[in-house]
Amino acid sequence: MMESASSGLLEAVAAATASALHEAETSLPADVNAAIGRALEREQDPTARAQLENIRENIRYAGERGLPLCQDTGVPVVYLTLPPSVPATADLYEAVAEGVRRATAEVPLRPNVVDPLTRENTKDNTGGGMPTIHVRPGEELTVTVLPKGAGAENCSRIAMLLPSQKGEIARFVAETMLLAGGKPCPPVVLGVGIGATFDGAAALAKEALLLSIDEMDPFEQDLCDAVNALGIGPMGLGGAVTALAVKVKRGHCHTASLPVAVNVQCWASRRATRKVEVEQWT
């Protein structure tokens, strides 16, 4: 009964996932575009400016042709909010995976998902634990996708700091970027997760990448300034803008713990959300 009642909804979730992936892969959110524009206003160095000009031209080409911004179309990270009437069933997870498979064929996306040890490619960007799906209760059914490329993801780090080391958070964030250099395709967006547990801090860091980068609070601005002072610049070739923004999400943690995670995101800070109407099927 559940299956027939919800089949239309599952199809809508698959379609919403594919549609959100299509948007995220081929265009940047307005806040990220605006931040790249501000970076160009700040940069004086001709090499740094050339990188940002290429990025802007690339965004324009991708938009005009409806093609991926980057050949690393990433692995899909998906965030669902579910209203009380929609249970988090295996069918729902499968609907999201179906959306990923459709987008892989239709956008098209590079098949990036492999077995971690045999390195065998599944060819459709799904697999064990992939897409990664995070479910939260909400008032509406929404599907948010965050395709994550490996160049930036591989530069991410986590530290289990001591409770007395909260003053060292800026050092850890800046050190993460010092080690990364040009590899994660700066100017980056850094998602910082502070608190929770070992795994929770990493999840918070990634969720921070879903926040608008139009504004930073004073703490985020301090972290961003510390990173930009390094002078790594666009693509690691030097310049004023290494980070477009630093965004922080916090969770409460054990009194003996201070987990800090930095999730590095390239300039192509891709994300998109679709709302799915629920009433007509329930």
Binding site: T47, Y61, C70, Q71, G151, G182, K183, G231, G236
Partner: protein, 186 residues
């Protein structure tokens, strides 16, 4: 400077930080292709060639959909044999290490393209052929015709390395900013 393959001694005049364009034939190669070439030989004429660190999205084996650079540092230990065989330019992103810097001395350059600019690159590319296709789309060696791809000389043939210069300045700045740190755990 406008460069065209096959490249010759003109690349020796370049200095780290110079802006150039590259036209002519380039060959894509990532980790797996390098390993295969070391075992089975280079499937193209390496003399004066340019090797592009890239795993493209190709439609129907003929249309370049997206072809930005991949992280070159993964190929640090895998590039010497190409330069020995006459390859004059490595193209990628993020820079390479001191081993490659030494291997490039007197014979070639590392050219940096803007990471993520896959659509911009694709608009200036045509597929001419492919080798090692069994490695899969991203790892195969694609023969691609380039039309004025805008690049920055990252490492020149004289030991100049823009990435390393930026890294050293960043390290100095970092040490100044955080020199009071004494605690464990990092």
């Amino acid at each position: 400077m406008d460069l065209t393959t096959p490249l010759g001694d003109e690349v020796l005049d370049l200095r780290a930080g110079d802006a150039v364009t590259l036209s002519g034939t380039v060959y894509t190669a990532r980790d797996e292709a390098h390993l295969r070439m070391m075992e089975e030989g280079i499937p193209f004429d390496p003399v004066g060639a340019a090797v592009y660190h890239c795993g493209p999205v190709i439609r129907d084996r003929k249309e370049v959909v997206a072809a930005g650079p991949t992280t070159s540092a993964r190929m640090n230990a895998l590039s010497g044999f190409l330069l020995d065989a006459g390859v004059r330019a490595l193209v990628g992103k993020g820079g390479m290490d001191e081993r490659v810097r030494d291997e490039l001395r007197g014979r070639g350059v590392y050219l940096a393209f803007t990471g993520g600019c896959a659509a911009l690159a694709a608009a200036r590319m045509q597929v001419k052929g492919v080798s090692f296709e069994d490695l899969g789309m991203a790892e195969a060696v694609w023969e691609i015709e380039l039309d004025h791809l805008p690049l920055i000389v990252g490492i020149d043939a004289h030991g100049g390395d823009l990435f390393e210069a930026v890294r050293q300045k960043a390290k100095l700045q970092f040490d100044q900013q955080f020199n009071s740190y004494k605690g464990p755990g990092l």
